[in-house]
Symmetry: C2
Subunit: 307 residues, 2 copies
């Protein structure tokens, strides 16, 4: 594994350069594999028909974490990977993904990670992913994650996804099919700068009785960056769906929010809220009377907002 | 004016069959004119290039109401009309439009009314329209209203639009361009039954500093009816925009809500909420313990919701 990968891993996945990862992991570096380890309960194997891996978590596995970060360490990389997760019945695990793209030249690099999650009855997953761009090169850092989640009876997946800085362009698609008494929670935090573009698409079908979805996006658009947020929830049975998009705009940033709720069943209860605006003047003034400069006050407010 | 027109007028515009309208009015019957009157301050004239009328309200006119209802009284009518309102500076008037379609046969009828409002600085308009379908015929009652509103400095238009029953299909488009310190308010109430279809589209550009828009839709979808609600607010300057869609579904009714907020300016503050669901069980139970039947309780709740 090269040094840039080590740096990126610390940024996206709490990687310790001394001790490495504990438990199962697979490290993708550029388009290859820079390390893999199975645990007793979690088996990672390469796909034979296309780039990517299968991650199989045995039924009943508890308290384990599997790391599958992907790093792009130079310009001119075009990476596409398919990672499929099979989570056995009653398992309760943490999946740490995340992607870093480091650009050293004028040419762009991109990582397209397509993750599919199949949760058996009663399984629980906390899925964490962080996306970041680094390096001094002028090429574009592009990360387009796609996540497909299929939740069987009583299962639960929570996705915490964060893109804080350095990613020039991202198109994010998260699709969920939620079964009987299952629940999908997505928490997204996005910050864009400069000329960056970020697009989020959530599409959730609530197909099982008493299923639920909670899709929460918080974002900050600085500089001349642009963000587009789309969220589609279809309530096809007795279910509850909630979607919220809160965005702070700064400088000349622009944000569009287009949620879509469709109740196809009498017992579907769906709610959405969105709010877009700049930081309230009173908030800034209050922090500045406490001794912060305008910039420090702004940074403090954004930190709290994205926490 | 025929008897069906008289009945429709009472339903859509508080028409008194004995005394008629007071002040300026124009009654459209099928594709013709069944009566017109000007007032000292409000002049109605036929368009020379296409079907429809121009309504000119003198600057400073206060407290007057102008009625321009349209009635379709039998099957096989395909009516298209362009009505333009020029509201002089500082005027403060009420416009009562509305449309009734009565079907006596197997063939459908439709009314397509395209209304454009040009408000000069400081003008105020309360625009009321009710849409209804009547008659025993099996043909479709179709009403497609389009409203275009252009608001100059400091002007205000409030649109109260109601479609309570009998309209089989409606596509409603309301577009607004809101200038300096001007404000557009739209309150929509919709109820659909049977196999009816209703589609609402709001598109508002907040172009003037300190302009505002408030778009509120409340709807009930019964039977196997379908509703689609779209609302687009673009905040292009310092402005405030709010959009809300609350829908009650009953039986096998379905509702989609697709609001869209875009902040193109740092000082644009935009908010949206939507909620779709059935009548809460507790609300029904409460009214039923007070002695109402389930049907009466339901009717009471809907009445309150759409008031």
């Amino acid at each position: 594994m090269n040094d840039i990968t080590k740096q990126l891993l610390s940024l996206i996945s709490d990687f310790d350069p001394e001790t490495g990862f504990t438990g199962a992991f697979n490290i993708r570096e550029d388009t290859g594999c820079a390390g893999r380890q199975n645990s007793r309960n979690i088996e990672i194997s390469s796909k034979s028909d296309k780039p990517g891996i299968d991650i199989r978590v045995k039924p009943g596995t508890k308290g384990e974490t599997v790391y599958i970060p992907a790093c792009v360490t130079h310009s001119k990389v075009d990476d596409l990977v398919y990672n499929d997760f099979y989570i056995g019945a009653g398992a309760d695990v943490v999946v740490v993904a995340g992607c870093g793209v480091h650009i050293d030249g004028e040419e762009s690099s991109q990582h397209n990670g397509i993750h599919r999650f199949y949760l058996e009855p009663g399984a629980r997953v906390l899925y964490r992913e962080k996306h970041i761009g680094t390096g001094e090169g002028s090429g574009q850092r592009i990360i387009n994650p796609q996540t497909y989640v299929e939740l069987q009876e009583g299962s639960y997946l929570e996705m915490d996804t964060t893109q804080i800085k350095g990613v020039d362009s991202t198109q994010r698609l998260t699709t969920g099919v939620v079964g009987l008494r299952a629940r999908l929670v997505v928490r997204e935090k996005l910050m864009t700068h400069g000329e960056q573009y970020a697009e989020t698409n959530f599409e959730v079908d609530l197909n099982g009785e008493d299923s639920g979805a909670d899709l929460i996006s918080r974002s900050v658009a600085k500089g001349r960056s642009k963000q587009l947020f789309r969220s589609r929830i279809n309530g096809n049975v007795r279910c509850t769906g909630h979607s919220a998009c809160d965005a702070i705009i700064m400088d000349e940033g622009t944000v569009s929010a287009i949620p879509e709720l469709t109740a196809n069943d009498l017992d579907a209860a769906l709610i959405h809220e969105a709010a877009i605006g700049k930081i309230a003047g009173e908030q800034l003034t209050k922090l500045m009377t406490l001794g912060l400069t305008a910039e420090e006050a702004e940074a403090k407010i954004i930190e709290g907002f994205l926490k």
